[in-house]
């Protein structure tokens, strides 16, 4: 989605005033071994005198300096965290996902554990008092790690994993693995613990055609038996009552139930058929309660059927009385362990009830409820909510960071500028009054500081609430707006991780795609900030808009337009309406464009700008990329088209640049003091294709760089004998992508950089329509020792700070890899010039240094995305990694060059200053005395 402005100057400066960032190392000056500092220099600069001398130094000296330089270069890239900084700027939240099985640990009276197995293939134990995790095991994603059953006996929890492929036993106290065995293949049906005379020693696993019995102590198989008539009977449940028999329940839909009983010591005992014409699925509508009492519910006839498995008499029907006003949606069984009756619940929104417990003499209840927004709530008997866990956050789809609003006083001051001038005197008075308010606030702040300083540190609490939210000095604290797959939106404080607001959207289709856009930031004071969430059903293409205030989470009073046609594309334009809301263009499947907000002012602006508003659409099914231009009547016209043959390759991703990205320096200073200008095309798209042929010899991935306005293919490259998944980062003048090399069987990184050459074509304005010359393309590849999950580049306010790549690894680490190492100009043979340029000599392998992990030991499981946002400090970039866990931290790609360190020695500096001051005073006095004495002589 690109918008082209021919008139908009992408480069703000004339080239003669261009500043180039140069990084020198202090070793060259022979200064103290501090880190590098950043200096701005004019383009046609010459060597500083000390450097010029250096270049004339002897070869030996040069070598020594090079060695020092290397050391300092390496030191300067180190970014480890000090021990006392742990948790100071970062936080992590661990989640488990939507619960599938849960079990209260009841074998010890005082136990406060609940065991949970989730649909995200996580097995965890949670503290029932606080809701915190005791331990957690994250299994493989996909069907291999799917948890089929959870059984608990005493200290052991038995899991059946991966459609009955594996049987595992865990120690629930410490979360350690007792044993694991691999079972025969076969579709898993059910599992149960088998006891005999109050001691449970076995576990039975029922599959489609066989039943096997395993020892609970070591997992070894005791016996395995084929099920009779397994072709016709659908065996679905297994039950053991503790009398040395194992019952297997099967059903022939709408015909009968088959019950097969096995003895513990191997062998079929009994087989019985009971006619139950309404029943189609045992697991969905039946449960065994008490001493072998099979209870089934027939929701059509609203009645209950019971059958004693031991006696095997006829099924008895118990009609239920349901108020006619309350139409039951579904039936839920709730098991009471010690009471020999069961409840049938006409559930509304509850999806999971867990267990009840008898406490002391009186009956006490506790329940864990999971609602459709994936919130896990723990309720104690008097109706008290003990804790809630927002498990929806285990599946964050997209997020944005929004600046916090200014405080009331600051806003007052800001508002002053917004108003129309009404006389000099009143303006002055207003200014004075607002400054008085500021002074007042400052004094109050000072007083609070003084007051807090007297209290012990532990008592001083800075609770973040939605009321006292305000922007901090360096804009380091922001509001994280997170959209989850369940349709729940969250507003999280980035500093502490506290959830400040939550909002559940009803009727979200299960396969919805989300796009979150910030229409108005907090910068336009009297107008509240505004975010728009586009929710699109992937099947029908129909979309809805949810407009809300990102700071408070409240739905906005602005009514979004009803979207009746399926949506193809949405794009944010940089033009604003009178209330400073950016215009959102929505393209429907008739290629008609509608604007939101669609006031008269907006439509007028759109008409004026229509001829310079371009957008593109990608149809990966047909391999088609097409460009459109807006017409003044808000219809569109097709202006370019690129078609990839779908039988050869398919488009897997299209990456543009981030609209809020700034590039500070237009070029790179070469060793010979000339400037190599970057090709900074804001409309450039990186299109990645993968071959349909997956044979390792013939498969390939393709990289196309396409101008999004003109549709011109700037560069087309093919990486042969490779395959995806491809991760791409596209920023500034470079594209970095990672792929799997089928030839060498390893992961590789490749970087493409684009340069205009030694001179700029048109330095004042970038227009895609007027760039006749193709850029120079440089490319280099590297071996990377790990596969990766996701990749993103750091982003800073002004783009002065050097860039790093943030790489989420499957191991749970987040690596901050300096872009310097991914530079196609890294020379194979070092020359004097490349040394001058501080290029690192080419090495085919990129090593992972342990200091580069920004999350030290805070593993982030299953990272799916990394979000970066600039802060008010140029050196600092805010990072949020999300997946199963959420991790927030700050990174300083060029170290904190604009911040004094925490341990900065103010005392030393001030004492030195004072000492010098007094020394000058004293020496002045002495000099005077001496002069006087001499004069007397």
């Amino acid at each position: 989605m690109k918008v082209e402005h021919v008139s908009n100057s992408f480069f703000l400066c004339d080239p003669s005033f261009t500043f180039i960032e140069v990084v020198y190392h202090s070793a060259l000056q022979g200064a103290a071994p501090s880190n590098h500092y950043v200096r701005r220099k004019h383009v046609d600069f010459r060597l500083p005198p000390f450097l010029e001398e250096q270049t004339k130094a002897t070869a030996a000296m040069a070598k020594l300096i090079w060695f020092c330089l290397k050391c300092i270069l390496l030191c300067s890239t180190i970014e480890a965290v000090f021990e006392d900084q742990v948790g100071k700027f970062d936080w992590r939240q661990q989640y488990i996902g939507k619960v599938r099985f849960s079990h209260f640990d009841t074998h010890v009276q005082s136990s406060k554990k609940v065991l949970l197995a989730t649909e995200n293939n996580v097995f965890a134990s949670i503290n029932t008092r606080t809701g915190e995790l005791f331990w957690r095991h994250v299994d493989m994603t996909g069907p291999e790690g799917n948890i089929d059953a959870l059984l608990q006996h005493g200290q052991d929890a038995v899991l059946v994993v991966g459609d009955g492929r594996q049987l595992r036993s865990w120690d629930i106290n410490i979360g350690g693995l007792n044993w694991e065995i691999v079972l025969d293949s076969g579709s898993f049906q059910s599992a149960c613990l088998v006891g005999y005379q109050d001691t449970v020693k076995h576990v039975a696993v029922l599959k489609k055609t066989v039943i096997s019995l395993h020892y609970l102590s070591n997992g070894h198989q005791k016996w395995i038996e084929n099920l009779p008539e397994s072709e016709t009977v659908d065996f679905q449940a297994v039950y053991s009552g503790g009398n040395g028999e194992v019952y297997v329940l099967g059903v022939v839909p709408h015909s009968h139930i088959a019950i097969v009983a096995y003895s513990l010591d191997d062998g079929e005992i009994i087989k019985q058929v009971i006619l139950t014409p309404w029943l189609s699925n045992i697991q969905a509508s039946c449960v065994v309660i008490g001493q072998g009492m099979l209870t089934c519910v027939d929701s059509a006839a609203v009645s209950l059927y019971t059958l004693d498995l031991h006696v095997q008499s006829q099924m008895t029907q118990i009609p239920l009385q349901v108020p006619t006003t309350m139409k039951p949606k579904a039936f839920y069984f709730i098991k009471l362990p010690d009471v020999s009756s069961s409840l049938v619940w006409t559930g509304l929104n509850l999806t999971q009830w867990s267990s009840f417990l008898k406490k002391d003499d009186s009956v006490g209840y506790r329940a864990m409820v999971q609602t459709e927004d994936h919130t896990l709530t723990f309720i104690q008997q008097p109706g008290r909510v003990m804790w809630t866990r927002e498990e929806a956050l285990s599946d964050v789809v997209t997020m944005e960071m929004v600046d916090l609003p200014l405080t009331g006083t600051q806003a007052e001051l800001e508002g002053e500028f917004g108003k129309k001038a009404d006389g000099l005197l009143s303006m002055l008075l207003k200014r004075l009054s607002s400054q008085l308010i500021l002074l007042q606030a400052w004094i109050a702040h000072l007083w609070k500081l003084f007051y807090d300083a007297r209290k012990p540190r532990s008592l001083v609490k800075n609770d973040v609430t939605i009321e006292n939210l305000s922007r901090d000095e360096f804009n380091l604290q922001k509001m994280m707006v997170m959209v989850t797959a369940s349709g729940k939106l969250f507003g999280i404080d980035s500093k502490t991780g506290t959830i400040l607001w939550r909002h559940y959207l009803d009727n979200i289709p299960s396969n919805a795609a989300f796009k979150l856009m910030v229409q108005r930031t907090t910068a336009h004071f009297p107008h509240p900030p505004q975010c728009t969430l586009l929710i699109k059903d992937k099947d029908t293409g129909l979309a809805t808009l949810h407009v809300f205030n990102p700071i408070f989470g409240k739905k906005s009073h602005v009514t979004p337009p009803a979207l009746l046609q399926p949506m193809l594309q949405s794009l944010m334009l940089p033009i604003m309406d009178q209330e400073y809301a950016k215009v959102l263009l929505l393209v429907d499947d008739q290629y008609k464009v509608s604007a939101f907000p669609s006031t008269k002012n907006v439509l007028q602006q759109l008409q004026e700008m229509a001829s310079s508003i371009f957008f593109y659409l990608v149809d990966s099914n047909q391999g088609k990329l097409s460009g459109y231009r807006l017409r003044t009547d808000l219809s569109t016209e097709l202006i370019w088209e690129i078609v990839m043959p779908t039988e050869v390759q398919r488009i897997v991703s299209v990456k543009g640049k981030r609209p809020n990205e700034h590039v500070h320096s237009q070029g790179r200073v070469m060793g010979d003091r000339s400037v190599l200008y970057k090709y900074l095309n804001p409309n450039l798209l990186a299109v990645v294709t993968e071959s349909t042929d997956l044979h390792p010899e013939r498969s390939f991935i393709g990289i196309l760089l396409i101008d999004g306005v003109t549709g011109r293919i700037i560069h087309e490259a093919v990486q042969r004998k490779t395959r995806g998944p491809v991760h791409v980062v596209h920023s500034e003048n470079w594209v970095v992508y990672e792929y799997w090399s089928t030839k060498s069987r390893r992961n590789e990184f490749s970087v493409i950089e684009l340069y205009e050459g030694m001179e700029l074509y048109n330095s004042t304005v970038f227009s895609s329509l007027d760039r006749p010359h193709a850029p120079q393309v440089l490319q280099q590849s590297y071996i990377f020792p790990s596969s990766i999950s996701t990749m993103e580049a750091t982003l800073t306010e002004k783009g002065i700070t050097s860039r790093h790549l943030l790489i989420g690894l499957p191991s749970g680490g987040i690596l901050s890899l300096p872009k310097m190492f991914l530079d196609p100009r890294r020379p194979e043979i070092m020359s004097e010039q490349s040394r001058e340029e501080n290029l690192i000599p080419y090495a085919p392998e990129l090593l992972i240094r342990s200091e580069w992990f920004i999350n030290y030991n805070q593993t982030v499981s299953r990272v799916r995305g990394i979000y970066t946002a600039p802060s008010g400090l140029e050196s600092t970039c805010l990072v949020v990694a999300y997946g199963l866990d959420i991790y927030q931290t700050r990174v300083y790609p060029s170290k904190q060059f604009d911040v004094l360190k925490d341990d900065y020695d103010y005392m030393l500096i001030s004492s030195v200053l004072f000492a010098l001051f007094f020394a000058t005073m004293i020496s002045k006095r002495l000099a005077e005395v001496k002069l006087l004495n001499r004069a007397w002589r």
């Binding site: 202006i639 050869v648 390759q649 590789e748 340069y755 007027d770 393309v777 440089l778 071996i783 085919p844």
Partner: protein, 289 residues
């Protein structure tokens, strides 16, 4: 030889033109391989090696290139169409015929007629309202054996501002981009110069003849990690070190015999200076009295 040429084409458009103009004089436009070598640029080297096949042929309207082509190529022709309308509703008409030659190194040439009087006027009119000049070619598969398989459904389109077309006096650069297997996936057009400055184009002759540079761009083979060279270099280095043990010693280890006496000398002289200075000072004081 041809590779050098190709890369220079990709990287250095002004040189392309120079070369192109020099090529224009040659009787057979296919003789690209005769091009003179151009100096390498270090920055370009990495991509040079991996250019597979980018052939580049020109054509012009005023000459009878078509008959030359017919004898040279066993290729086939597809229409190149263009459209420029004041109302901005695309109405494509034939501009010329593209002769495509399939094979390992696909090549292309173009025969096109002059712009008619009417078209010239229209083009200027479109340029005045900042309309678009569009071109399109049908989707083509170069590698197919049979004629029927070569052409597929749909078109590939590209555009340029009509004013740029007018102000550049119809000198445009058209590239056909093909993919790995020989499908034409995109077409691009730029004019040289590309800017619209609003300069008046009075001379009707300027708008008569297309001055087209045509090329087929195949994908570049992206380089893999350069392990062989690196290992070789490492071996060389270790060999060098093995041969010359002097090299691997550190600076201090090598020159200690000079440094130590120097430092000693400095220390001695410093001490002497101090004592000497003190003595001299004493003498001066004494002298003063």
């Amino acid at each position: 030889m041809s590779r050098i040429l190709k890369t220079s084409i990709l990287k250095n458009p002004p040189e392309v033109l120079k070369l192109w103009f020099s090529l224009r004089c040659l009787p057979v436009p296919l003789s690209v391989n005769m091009a003179r070598p151009l100096p390498f640029k270090i920055a370009v080297v990495s991509t040079v090696l991996f250019v597979v096949c980018t052939d580049f042929v020109f054509c012009n309207s005023g000459r009878r290139v078509g008959d030359v082509m017919d004898t040279e190529f066993s290729g086939f022709s597809v229409p190149l169409e263009h459209s420029f309308e004041v109302a901005d509703v695309a109405k494509f008409r034939v501009r010329g015929a593209l002769m495509l030659k399939a094979g390992r190194e696909p090549s292309v040439s173009l025969t096109q007629s002059q712009l008619s009087e009417e078209d010239r006027a229209k083009l200027k009119e479109v340029a005045a309202v900042d309309g678009l000049y569009r071109i399109r070619v049908p989707r083509v598969f170069l590698q197919a054996d049979r004629q029927t398989e070569r052409q597929m459904e749909g078109y590939l389109t590209a555009f340029v501002r009509a004013c740029a077309m007018v102000e550049s006096h119809l000198s445009d650069v058209i590239s056909l981009h093909i993919d790995v297997s020989g499908y034409v996936i995109g077409v691009s057009i730029v004019t040289l110069p590309g800017a619209c400055r609003g300069t008046e184009v009075e001379d009707e002759v300027d708008l008569e003849v297309f001055n087209t540079t045509l090329s087929v761009m195949a994908p570049v083979n992206a380089p893999g990690p350069e392990t062989a060279l690196f290992v070789e270099r490492m071996e060389q280095e270790s060999e060098k070190k093995g041969k010359n043990p002097q090299e691997q010693k550190s600076f201090f280890a090598k020159y200690w015999m000079y440094i130590v006496p120097l430092v000693l000398f400095l220390m001695m002289s410093g001490a002497q200076d101090q004592s000497g200075g003190g003595a001299a000072g004493g003498a001066a004081n004494g002298g003063g009295r």
